[in-house]
Amino acid sequence: MKKNLIDLSHISKTFDGDRVIDDFNLTIKENTFVTLLGPSGCGKTTILRIIGGFLKPDMGRVFFDGKDITELPPEKRQLNTVFQKYALFPHMNVEDNIAFGLRIKKKSEDFIKSKIEYALKLVNLEGYGKRDIDALSGGQQQRIAIARAIVNEPKLLLLDEPLGALDLKLRQEMQYELIRLKNELGITFIYVTHDQEEALTMSDTIVVMNQGYIQQMGTPEQIYNEPENAFVATFIGDSNIVSGKMIEDYAVEISGKKFRCIDAGFGKNKAVDIVIRPEDVEILEPNSPKAILHGRMTHVIFKGEMYEMLCVTDDGKEWLVHSTILHEVGKEVGVYVEPYNIQIMNKPTSEDEEAIDPVVYEAEE
């Protein structure tokens, strides 16, 4: 059983009268890779900065390893942060940057030297010690920022969108590096990002946030396969979200037709939302016995690893379809979805869920 490392209890934070975080509770276990995922302005960075000590919550307590650290300044916390834009000291070379924390702690120069060597090796930048910060690429700077943090042997490493400024290929490389680092160091990572792919790749646990509230918390598989509400479903990957009716346990009505599903306990004839991932929409010949809905293909875009297509069913509903098999525009087709690919969600009841506006996260950065 892993110990709780971080406990956020009833945290609230207001900026200029704007309540960013309201009664936020989160527990993070030791030695896990936790990602706070959400659109800009969802409060994920605020949470990270509250843990780091750079922001004080208006209400609530922060516990670290069982101790209340709410009032502790950042320099007294046993954790380190890797900032969004590296935040390296431009007036020092690589070595002095890495040594900064250790010199503050008055470690011996021999110890510091061995630590620098160890850290540079860990981030694959051996021999870079004497270089100027300006002489490094973005990816190298980010590795130094990580090295600078981990030489202090924190129990917890906070990473604030550290890969945001890197190009795609470098970002993917760094994702694997971070996973390796986490495994080698055996410490807890709290990672903030708005990039769902990054979150799915690296995390043990994903915390999906919107408008200061946790929308869902779970493993990447749970978040992707069993989104609990429409926000999570649309934010994590593409999806078809349709209204429907739960006829009874294990049977749901979509577009007036009965589909079998694997969910139960919603009650009879209850209105629900249904999430179906585009890769789970099966396109069949129109006369196939499996076909439940019928329609016609209207758009096709070639995306490289698959075709992205639109199919309009007879009731006028549009379905996003991902498939490696091409179905040409105008073709009459049948549509089928496997029971385990149908994810049933309750219709939103709280205002917070309804406040979900797709424009908010499409318009960011």
Partner: protein, 275 residues
């Protein structure tokens, strides 16, 4: 038209300006400095730097310039730091209020000081009204230093503020995160990163203070001969252009030495070589 030729044409007015108003006058200064009335080569003008009166004027000018530059740093740094940290729209406005006097004629500003600090000046009027002892600083070194500080303070605030504004919040947060307390953040991060601004502030305050004529003349009541006053007298009163040029030449050499020393302290790629 090739682009090189075009660039030369665009640069032409500035080249003419530079030659006409900077290079040629300097050549004249050097020529006069190393000749005498008979137009014969001589080192006497330059060597007269060692004449006790001249030497004293140099020492005094350096001393007052040094003190006022130091006071400017002490006054400007907290202001610049406060404005950097406040980060509101107001702060850039207030910074402009601080440098507002820069837009007024320097002589007028000195006159204003004179009316403030003279024996029957405004400050003493107020002190008398409050039954407090009067101050008597006009025609003293204190008055000159006050005038210099007032005159040149904006030139220290502005570059300091600019260089402090360039420091990102996360750079400071990073230092805190790594265990530095507020004093250590200041000494190890803020101070070194603001050096370029401080150096350009120093050059922009120290050199005008060193060469001032008006401030020492008006607030010192002519009792304190700074090197600027000596040179002015040689040119305008005694009409000894050769001696005046000789001393000017020595002063220019000193200025180059000062700039050489200060530039040594800064990053090679900073834009402070503006003086």
């Amino acid at each position: 038209m090739n682009s090189k030729l075009r660039n030369h044409l665009i640069a032409a007015p500035y080249t003419i300006w530079m030659i006409g108003f900077i290079v040629i006058p300097l050549v004249f200064v050097v020529y006069y400095a190393f000749t005498n009335d008979a137009n014969a080569f001589t080192l006497d003008n330059v060597i007269s730097f060692f004449n006790p009166i001249h030497f004293k004027s140099f020492v005094k000018a350096f001393k007052l310039a040094f003190i006022s530059t130091f006071i400017c740093i002490i006054l400007a740094y907290p202001i610049a730091l406060i404005f950097r940290n406040s980060k509101t729209k107001k702060s850039s406005f207030i910074i402009y209020v601080f440098i507002l006097p820069m837009w007024m004629n320097g002589l007028l500003r000195i006159y204003a000081w004179l009316t403030l600090i003279e024996k029957k000046g405004i400050i003493n009027l107020i002190l008398s009204a409050l039954n407090l002892p009067n101050i008597n600083i006009v025609n003293t070194e204190t008055a000159i230093i006050l005038g210099m500080v007032y005159d040149f303070l904006p030139f220290m605030i502005l570059p300091l503020y600019n260089s402090l504004m360039k420091i990102k919040d996360d750079t400071l947060n990073g230092a805190r995160d790594l265990g530095a307390n507020e004093i250590q953040v200041f000494t190890r991060v803020i101070l070194p990163l603001s050096m370029p601004g401080m150096i350009s502030g120093i050059t922009m305050v120290f050199i005008p203070a060193l060469t001032t004529v008006a401030i020492s003349y008006m607030l010192g009541g002519g009792l304190f001969l700074l090197v600027g006053n000596v040179i002015e007298q040689e040119f305008l009163t005694t009409s000894n252009w050769h001696l005046g040029s000789g001393l000017s030449f020595v002063l220019i050499v000193f200025i180059f030495i000062v700039m050489g020393i200060t530039n040594n302290f800064t990053d090679k790629d900073e834009e402070i070589n503006i003086v």
